[in-house]
């Protein structure tokens, strides 16, 4: 671990302390990628473990994600300048017709905390926009969110759009959201499903490593 202060700030969801600790670590000569891999990712992994064990809840996940994000705001420009970038790119969005984005935002936050590059398309995203994002940004993973049973069918149409565009085999498609089930994921040809934001990180890792 490069910075205990940064680790604790992320774990405790303290964004201002995370920013201060990141500055301090950089001034002491820590490499940005090392801060991410040796401190921040382990901190978020512990956050995930505490969530899975029922000690942390969604608000704690969110605060930790915000702390991680505030640290990343300092590190991102340094990473870009040095050409360092995460190995896995994820496109995420809430499907067409659905304006709910809280769950999707939480997953995006956790994925970024897990060391992935996240391209967030927002909410009410038409299949064509997902297709365009995959064609342009070439992610390894696409995450689709839906909070309403009435908009869930748009997950299927988005997967179909990727197939028609000849892009389906290039990405793993994961789905999630309150009404979604693993059975539904299988029915529509998704590669995976998770029922919580913390689980999304492990799921992305497993589908990418299996690819």
């Amino acid at each position: 671990m490069v910075s205990k202060d940064l680790y604790d700030a992320v774990l405790n969801g303290e964004a201002q302390k995370a920013t201060a600790a990141t500055k301090q670590a950089l001034e002491a000569g820590a490499a940005p990628m090392q801060l991410i891999s040796d401190t921040m990712i382990p901190a978020m992994a512990e956050v995930g473990r505490l969530y899975e064990s029922g000690e942390y809840f969604v608000p704690e996940l969110l605060l930790a994600g915000r702390a991680m994000k505030s640290a990343m705001e300092l590190l991102r420009p340094l990473l870009a300048a040095s050409g360092d970038r995460p190995n896995t790119r994820v496109v995420i969005g809430t499907v067409k017709g659905d304006l709910h984005d809280i769950g999707k935002n939480l997953v995006a936050s956790m994925l970024e905390g897990g060391g992935f590059e996240v391209i967030d398309l927002g909410a009410d995203v038409a299949p064509e926009r997902f297709v365009a994002a995959v064609a342009e940004r070439q992610p390894q993973v696409v995450c689709l969110s839906s909070l309403l049973t009435v908009t869930m069918p748009c997950m299927k149409t988005t997967i179909e759009a990727l197939t028609v565009a000849g892009l389906r085999n290039q990405v793993k498609v994961l789905i999630g959201g309150a009404p979604v089930t693993s059975q539904y994921a299988k029915e529509i040809g998704a590669d995976g499903y998770t029922d919580n934001a913390s689980g999304a990180v492990g799921l992305v890792r497993s589908v990418v490593s299996a690819a």
Partner: protein, 338 residues
Amino acid sequence: MPIGTDLLLHEEPEPEVARKHGPALGRVIERAARRWGTPLAMPLMDLRLEKIDLLTLAGIPEHEADGFHFDTAIAPSALAALCRYDAPLFRAGSLARNEALTWIDTRTNLIPVGMTIGPFSLMTRLLADPIGAVALAGSGMTGEDSVHLAQQCLQMAEAAVLRSMRSQVEHGARAMMICEPAACTAFLSPRQIRAGSPVFEQFVMEPNLRLKRFLDHAGCDLIFHNCGELIDSMVEDFAQRLHPVILSLGSSRRLWEDARLVPEDVVLYGNLPTKSFYSDGAMPVEEVMRRTEELIANMRACGHPHIVGSECDVLFVPGAADAIRAKVEAMMQVAAPA
């Protein structure tokens, strides 16, 4: 008795026309009550209406309401204007709901039930990052701009809900269902609550207690609905302090265990997992029947008054409507008196 008016609305030749026409909506609500043999005329669960009406006051058109969020502190004079208790309701959906109540009250022998989103849940829809704001409030960082904005939005939300309730009571509602799905562990951390944070009290209980007092004064019964993931202390507070006539909970709760937290004169309602009725794979008819039998047996054993029902609104889903209806019918069949 499922909360299933939406299913029957979609049996209409033009559901979207019926949705905005009071008498037509009233007829749909009546059909739903007769279909499932209940004296309660449960309304269409449309939890967008109070946000639409509030934003109309703020000059935001209806078609922008769903995606609109407040993002900066609201000036005191503007806040006062948005918290007016006497503002009329504007939008077609709210007007139709009121007309439907009057239709039920004057033309049927059913009990007209009103419905509104709860103040905390409405507040979450007025903010882009409600979980963050509430989490910061719960961690004691009450000086943060986002927390201040959340508190302002909660004020506006409470006023909007009160306007809605007052209007529905004036149009004949004799019971009012307050729906607070966001007042759950997704938005409110049990860790913070157990550590002594007043966040649940300040953001959920206080505004709802004020609304309960209004309903008591108006002689209108409270039906309190929360289908979110809850901890025992939340169930206890809803049941004992709000003291609704009916407490409706989601499928994550075991109602026969919750009975120990709920006064004898509060009827427990629910809580079959209707959100997954769309999927025959995840929830086949046989499983619905098994769960209904288990629920009934357990509730009989614990002796607490109970109405078998859905965990939340049973929505019409294109492509899955028949599957959903079949499971609702199966649930009702199992629950029918011998």
